[in-house]
Symmetry: C3
Subunit: 384 residues, 3 copies
């Protein structure tokens, strides 16, 4: 039995609905997910499946959280509160240990610090607490020579950025996000989910790979002390699963800025729409110069953690190079381990958000984003 597709699309976005329906029809019967898009600040896609009649659920969005974290960084750079070419130690003196003295904020945010985890690993408790993560990382030797390479700081980039925010402003990144981004727009994208909204949270479901997919996963190189293991803190005794992480109330309550966010697709897309477009009578959060700077490619090529080609702007993925080659230069966003993805494409005015409940094979942005984002982009361009 095919799942019903709920929600609406604006005129001209019918193909997005069709792509979503085609995809859902091929998924497992218990599929649950949401798709939302804005163009120039106007909502043009608001679809969901398997999420009841109102589409009001919230999902763990893992690394899509990093988009919210680095929108905060972008705002503070825009304000002049943070200066990208200052050394990190200007804000955070303890950071200079173990040869990290010369590193700039720009390098740090662009995944160049080599500070992807701890030799000794983090406790589960520490991973709920950005400040504890940052404190421990200050003493860590980088895992590669700073300046020679980059790699995905999967579980810690938000804590590192957050500590700089805290030192510079006296407030947590989460507080700044809530005040300057989430609350003004009423976004369903939380870094710290209030207890009262827990009822809307739908727990992450583990990946359900086919036999063939499982074989691919099993064949992937792995080891308990690889850079990837350290980056995902899998080198500790009894590491928790990613699903367990998102499904922990302690995580959701604090909203760690690397991967602890909770959102609906509307919130994801809404945040990126607010970043680049006039919305709700407010000017865009980011000025054109800031948009250009955060989307400017800063790290591109072989990612030492992912062992594959990746592209980053300032804390954001360079979505056009890394995921969707049809997007315009300067598109910026982030995907999440569960399958979620969100981005802004400033040249078309498109803001896109997608979330799903069950973790998608093979990890990272779910493959369905390719066709969904392309359809949305094509329709956005046709709007002119």
């Amino acid at each position: 039995m095919t799942q019903e597709i709920h929600g609406t699309v604006a005129d001209g976005f019918e193909t997005v609905r069709e792509e979503f329906a085609t995809f859902v029809a091929r998924e497992r019967p218990d599929y649950e997910g949401q798709l939302c898009a804005y163009v120039h600040g106007r909502k043009v896609v608001d679809l969901w499946a398997g999420d009841g009649a109102d589409g009001g659920s919230l999902y763990g969005v893992f690394s899509s959280t990093k988009g919210a974290a680095h929108l905060v960084a972008a705002l503070l750079v825009q304000d002049g509160t943070l200066e990208l070419d200052r050394k990190v130690t200007y804000y955070w003196p303890e950071f200079g240990a173990e040869g990290k003295n010369g590193l700039t904020l720009r390098d740090l945010i662009a995944h160049r610090a080599g500070l992807i985890g701890l030799d000794a690993g983090f406790t589960a408790q520490e991973l709920t607490d950005d400040r504890a993560v940052a404190e421990r990382l200050a003493d860590q030797r980088p895992f590669w020579r700073p300046g020679t390479a980059f790699g995905y700081h999967a579980l810690v980039i938000g804590a590192l950025t957050g500590e700089v925010v805290r030192r510079a402003t006296g407030r947590t990144l989460q507080e700044v996000y809530e005040e300057r981004v989430r609350a003004p727009y009423g976004l369903d994208f939380f870094l710290g989910l209030p207890e009262s909204l827990e009822i809307r949270y739908r727990s992450v479901q583990p990946m359900a790979p086919t036999a063939q997919q499982q074989a691919v996963l099993d064949a992937a190189p792995s080891g308990p002390h690889t850079l990837a293991s350290i980056a995902f803190n899998e080198h500790v005794p009894n590491p928790g699963s990613l699903a367990d992480y998102a499904n922990s109330r302690a995580v959701r309550a604090k909203g760690p800025a690397s991967a602890g966010g909770v959102a609906a697709a509307r919130g994801l897309a809404g945040m990126y729409a607010a970043a680049i477009s006039e919305m709700d009578g407010r000017p865009p959060l980011l000025k054109p110069d800031t948009v250009a700077e955060v989307g400017q490619i800063h790290s591109v090529g072989y990612d030492l953690v992912a062992r594959a080609h990746k592209s980053f702007g300032l804390g954001f993925q360079a979505t056009a190079d890394m995921w969707h080659p049809f997007l315009g230069a300067g598109a910026f966003g982030h995907s999440g381990a569960g399958g979620s993805q969100a981005f802004a494409d400033p040249r078309s005015g498109l803001a896109y958000g997608y979330t799903r409940r069950r973790m998608a094979f093979p990890g990272g942005a779910a493959p369905e984003n390719d066709r969904l984002a392309r359809a949305a982009h094509t329709a956005a361009l046709a709007m002119g």
Copy 2:
């Protein structure tokens, strides 16, 4: 009916003729192209097909033009007129806008500036005029963080280099080229084709892909605002085709230094022969140190515009790494969108030029260059 192969080869270069004949026999019956090679300044290959009995036609050579442009740059570096490690702003103060203040001439010429095009695009008129292109680019923010990556400045590198030449010498790059390179050797390789020679110009024919090739072209990622689109100025309303560009008299008249050159294979090969070899009683244009420096690899790896592995020296392609792995270290040259290619291989003394009328699939140097250049190189080595 197989096309006749015209022209001559020196003793020992019979295999080059055979390769050319084999290739032409498989091409469309209307194939038209020329192949020329020198070794240590002596012409050893002079072949053509479909170009009448004398082989005197001139073709649009697109980016092979960049070789002429950067031979001028090399000469001025050799003179001491240009210094590679000076900042571009030393020569061209207005260039420093939008975070480009620190960029050196070396970085600029090595496709590292990130200044591949304009957010707003160029008019067709501007693209005929290197000075207009340069003036507009001075105000453009780079498309990636300077120093972190490189990408092919397809339509603009010649204008950027040219503006530095103009500021440093008071003359256009085209004037310097004509005076110091083209005229002394009587080369059929023009940056600015005199009206009187128009009769020899054979208009570029558009690519004629097979159905299978068309499918490959259609499947390639594309979008109207990608880095590649911007680099090829395809993000403007009604962008012209590359063929139309070369076929415009306005372009040919001015000879924009990125892609507006017109040449015969004899001119292409002759220019590279003059660069590295004694010829016509003249010493090589470039001294060994200059040859080594322009061919030294400056940018290598993932090209953000091409989204593929590329290798550049100082304005020239590092032909051995980028195209022909059998060539010697330090081989330098350039290919063009129509299918043309030209290079010097200093370690064997080979200078090579190829041009064809119809644009070749899939774009860039035509595939036939692989076997033609290999045959020429093997024969050159055997000459000793």
Copy 3:
């Protein structure tokens, strides 16, 4: 008839023996090789085949030699005798010629200098003598722009490092190695094989590719003046083969630090065990900070000589990224053209050494190392 597997494994390492036996059974009947491993300084694997009853032979290990050379460098850095961020010219003023003035010792050791060989090539005599190699390279222009790329300095990195050692200490790298590393542990890993031990040397046998393998080798791009040819000194008249190099007494006598070493697997593994573990009542040769620094990835991505992805620490290969993705971050070692490989994996305490007599297809570490090293690593982890 299947070859007999000699030697012993500790409890828990039976799978290593099984993997070795499985491999040997599929090899040519004249296969001859050795496998040895330590965990936390205790020998746990000591196997051989085709090497008589005692396994006492010594083999040419080619570039595995570089591991010994750079253990010396690591010790001198640890002592403070060498400082990685000093310019090479601080130790070796003549090195500054031809634009190499700004290069640091760190860059030099990390294969970033672009000084892979000589335009004119080395004589066979010079290649036996690190000091002669270094002297000639001092005058060579780099083959790429220093700082923009890296490439494997196959035949010369040991001479370059060695010259810095000699200038800083007044003694040859080989002397320091003998005194501080080889002799104290009685290691069967020689940089300079005494005449009296020649009786134990088994000459390198040339590769014996199958027809299919030969086709692969023939199809590989090659030319007499490529970067790879220059790096392997194949651009001179009558270049000797690698096998001939190792089989020359003149080479073995001097033990050039790039590729002239002679070893048994016990010596290879023993050296890496001594580097990271307490052994024979002695503390580890390298302190944890030094271990972390030499294994820290310094050069990663496209190797201009190999024309493939490679990863280097400080003179060592970054074995986890370059060869065995299951190893821990910071694993460091080196492989050799004959098929040998040796490394330390500090996070599991594993030290590994393998050598074989006949050169393995396709060159570099022999493919059998993949399964052998994985089995040893898995067993080492299980030891806890």
